[in-house]
Symmetry: D3
Subunit: 69 residues, 6 copies
Amino acid sequence: MKISARNSLKGKVEEVKEGVVTATIKMKIETPGEITATITKEAVEDLGLKVGDEVMAIIKSSEVMIAKK
Amino acid sequence: MKISARNSLKGKVEEVKEGVVTATIKMKIETPGEITATITKEAVEDLGLKVGDEVMAIIKSSEVMIAKK
Amino acid sequence: MKISARNSLKGKVEEVKEGVVTATIKMKIETPGEITATITKEAVEDLGLKVGDEVMAIIKSSEVMIAKK
Amino acid sequence: MKISARNSLKGKVEEVKEGVVTATIKMKIETPGEITATITKEAVEDLGLKVGDEVMAIIKSSEVMIAKK
Amino acid sequence: MKISARNSLKGKVEEVKEGVVTATIKMKIETPGEITATITKEAVEDLGLKVGDEVMAIIKSSEVMIAKK
Amino acid sequence: MKISARNSLKGKVEEVKEGVVTATIKMKIETPGEITATITKEAVEDLGLKVGDEVMAIIKSSEVMIAKK
């Protein structure tokens, strides 16, 4: 099964914190990988993004899914 | 400025591909970090998630933002 | 009132589970409809997506809204 | 491989429309399934959601992923 | 028709920029309203959020839908 | 630090409601600003969106982040 989502980062679960209907999972990324971001062209120009720039990928925790074999 | 988003991964831009209104950025994560995911408690039980499990964080590229100093 | 969101699936509420600030709703889709997905062109090529392919639409529950008349 | 995302709807690709960096996929859902939505408890109260209600699941196309075997 | 989404800001379209499959809409908010954000409790503590704080609501443009009568 | 997210609305926290792992923040927007939405071109045509149209920006609360200095 292949998924269209471009980002999959391998790691180990460090913490499971359960609420009533939701839960937060903390995992440690073990091997540094590649991240793909789809943003507006306007943002690319506004930030002056170009190859070699030092940047941060910012991701809201509600947008992260967990997959397990 | 501090942001509520729990995930920020540091890296270097490898590719900038511009469309008409959107663009995709590929970046290489340099230092493995920690990822926080907010999922349903039902998913935690369904996957049997517990500390030490080998998992994958799956993230759609449209959910990734880029920040630059 | 028309909304830009491309997907609206009609159904009946089967379960309402309330937490402290969030809740999960389970609904049964009654009539099979059409789903539109916006993904990267790279994913289309990677999965070799073409008309007629048997696929799955995967959606995180935090991305689903509920509308009621 | 099991994923935390609660919603997976099976169907057949009807249209693939490619842009420069993104693409839209239209698929026909073949078998009506169940949808899980995580919303605020405030919304549950505001809409008066209860078992048996006729509702619509509304999903932005940028939140839909495609998986293929 | 009532929707579970907590945020609806009224305004006027200022710009429509079309790509091949996606488009960006710029609108001017006319009347200041209220914004609801669902974040992790950890973020509330990390930012020390309390009533009266001057803050910013940050929203990725791919998460904004447009509705029209 | 500049972020690719196109929308940042300034305001004051009015309410903080904590659950077990998530929380909802209500803030009052003080100065009306501009909103950018990325939607499908199909939606632009379906809604007949053009400059000057009175519209609503609809945003799910789980998509809103909070930033504080």
